[in-house]
């Protein structure tokens, strides 16, 4: 005698489950230390999806910065080097110099890339280094507890700008991607975000291209991810995304800043 319940179970068993989502193989199944809602997590995931989809795991070398993503190598199942604060692009230059056929990328926050490492960033671009910079711009120093970054919007209160960022004494937010785009050594410069599904898809496309462009040996790619820092901003994950759209995206609008032309893409 079969009850109604048994019948339903039987029906479910007969349904062929289609897998619509899974953790990329190269993203390790470990607990991450990132705060809930933080853009670092999503960016890690799409990066590793790309590595798997392009099947380049055995050819990728990543460089982790000093910042919240300092332990990225604990989460990504690829060869990685941890660099001193700000020096990721110099380390990547060294790696690429002796491993020119590999895919090399740095993963850096705004303090790492746009403050202490500005010289290394600009000169790597100016030399036209063939690696990718993944630049997480959350407008704050997450790791050290929410201090002002060079990219912090005017008026924004942080631990070191308690009365709000004052342009007269603290300078204006710096647009590193825009700056790099002006250098002939920069091949591709784009600004993306990962705050909703559509944005994630776009960011993934941009990152995929940036990986593929390395094989052309035509210069540096920078993919800026305009991101959030719920903890540093003292907002909930949802509020932080709203705040990001309102205050960060107006300063750092998403989209390509420098895209290669058809001729540029001829290898």
């Amino acid at each position: 005698m079969s009850t109604q319940q048994d019948l339903i179970c039987e029906q479910i068993d007969n349904i062929k489950m289609a897998k619509v989502y899974e953790r990329p193989d190269s993203l390790l199944d470990v607990r991450m230390h990132y705060c809930p809602g933080c853009g670092h997590t999503t960016t890690h995931k799409i990066l590793m999806e790309i590595v798997d989809e392009l099947q380049i795991k055995n050819e990728v070398i990543g460089v982790a910065p000093v910042g919240c993503s300092v332990l990225a190598y604990d989460y990504l199942d690829i060869d990685m080097q941890q660099a001193a604060h700000g020096r990721a692009t110099a380390v990547a230059t060294g790696i690429k110099a002796v491993q020119p056929d590999k895919y090399v990328f740095t993963y850096q926050g705004d303090g790492d890339l746009a403050a202490i490492g500005t010289a290394e960033t600009i000169h790597s671009a100016n030399r036209g280094e063939n690696f990718l910079i993944v630049f997480i711009n959350n407008g704050i120093y997450g790791m050290t507890g929410g201090q002002m970054a060079p990219t912090t919007p005017i008026g924004e209160k942080t631990a070191t700008s308690p009365y709000g960022r004052d342009r007269a004494t603290m300078g204006a937010p710096i647009d590193i991607t825009g700056l790099l785009a002006q250098l002939p050594g920069t091949f591709y410069a784009t600004r993306q975000s990962v705050h909703d599904a559509k944005a994630v898809r776009k960011a993934k496309k941009a990152l995929t291209k940036a990986f593929q462009y390395q094989k052309l040996n035509k210069g540096l790619c920078i993919v800026e991810i305009v991101s959030n820092c719920p903890s540093g901003w003292k907002l909930t994950p949802y509020e932080s995304n709203q705040w990001m759209i309102e205050h960060m995206m107006s300063l750092y609008p998403p989209g390509d800043v420098k895209a290669p032309s058809k001729e540029d893409l001829q290898s």
Partner: protein
């Protein structure tokens, strides 16, 4: 086939690096060592390898970190202010246990100082420089020949112990010309496997990570203990020195690099005057040859340390001697080079009170 050439010390160092199988050089120009980058820029592209002029010494040392971590044989060279800028990176390299060769062609300081030769960076080279408990193996050439020889030795020691090795020399040896013989050296034969290098994770091994970050203090202590165990091994195996006329010496000069050449000349002058002088020259100042110097201190009446600084190695000399005999000192600073005559004069003025057993503090230095 070995080959004999007449060269500047800087060029000999650069040429030896190419012959030793240099894969990549990263550096930034600074006098008195720019010839190294210039020489490599001419010759490396023709003979294979990478030469990159970095935007700063900070960038150069981090490029070294990256390339060494990716398994390459790498070198950077600089002079004093540049070496100061490299200290953070060197600390990271020592902690991450990456092999590389560094050279500091020292000039007079502190500050921007002078471009004339000096030994003012002994403390920085031997006692740390960067942060944390680490050491560099520090080789101190005294001839152009050794400027070349220590390159091969340095690369091999770096690979053997997975540690940065440094050549500590000065502008006079870098710019001076002497005869140099390049030995037979086949880099392919000296190549060691680097299974830890970041070369892309192949399916048959786990990922390789180059890092110096260990947030758990228990783990960080363990890493430190591993480093210290390595340094103990280096202290036991790699101490190098040279002695000159020490058999019958009553006065023992201690000096390294350029200072030792002045001391040698002083010894000749002293012996002409009937003073039985000899020389103890450390070739490695880290590890320092404490034991042999301690033995020699039992045999001589007095030690005189000669340096191109205010007295830096003398601290290690005194550690070795442990007060057994007085230790006199003569040094010049700021790019001035002591003459053998003035060293002898200082020795003669202080020899009798020193031999009479008056302690070093009482002897006018």
């Amino acid at each position: 086939m070995s080959e004999v050439k007449f060269m500047k010390g800087n060029e000999a160092l650069a040429e030896a690096a190419i012959r030793a199988g240099l894969d990549a050089y990263f550096g930034y120009p600074i006098t008195p060592q720019s010839e190294i980058l210039e020489y490599l820029a001419i010759h490396v592209p023709k003979r294979g390898g990478v030469v990159l002029q970095a935007e700063s010494e900070v960038a150069a040392i981090n490029m070294i970190y990256g390339a060494a971590g990716a398994g390459a044989r790498v070198m950077t060279t600089t002079s004093s202010p540049g070496f100061s800028l490299m200290q953070e990176g060197i600390s990271y390299i020592a902690s991450a246990q990456l092999p590389c060769l560094l050279a500091n062609i020292v000039r007079g300081g502190p500050g921007l100082g002078t471009i004339q030769p000096s030994q003012g960076d002994y403390f920085q080279a031997v006692k740390g420089g960067g942060h944390g408990d680490y050491h560099l193996i520090v080789l101190t050439p005294s001839t152009v020949q050794e400027m070349a020889d220590f390159v091969y030795l340095g690369f091999d020691l770096a690979d053997k112990y997975l540690t940065p090795v440094m050549i500590l020399t000065d502008g006079a040896l870098g710019q001076g010309m002497e005869k140099v013989t390049f030995p037979d050296y086949d880099p392919a034969k000296k190549k060691v496997a680097k299974p830890w290098a970041t070369t892309g994770k192949s399916p048959n091994r786990s990922k390789n990570v180059i890092t110096s970050l260990y947030l758990q203090p228990e783990k960080m202590e363990q890493i430190n203990e591993e480093l210290q165990a390595k340094y103990t091994k280096i202290r036991a195996n790699e101490v190098r020195w040279e002695e000159y006329l020490t058999e019958d010496a009553e006065v023992l000069f201690t000096a390294f690099g350029l200072g030792s050449r002045i001391a040698r000349k002083t010894i000749q002058l002293a012996r002409e005057k009937g003073i039985k002088a000899g020389l103890f020259r450390p070739k490695t100042v880290w590890p320092f040859p404490y034991q042999r110097l301690k033995e020699l201190a039992q045999q001589v009446d007095v030690i005189m340390d000669v340096e191109l600084n205010a007295g830096q190695m003398i601290e290690d000399v005194r550690l070795a001697v442990e007060g057994a005999v007085p230790v006199l000192f003569h040094g010049r600073m700021g790019g001035m080079i002591p003459t053998p005559e003035e060293v002898l004069e200082k020795l003669e003025a202080n020899l009798q009170p020193a031999q009479a057993g008056i302690s070093q503090q009482e002897v006018a230095l």
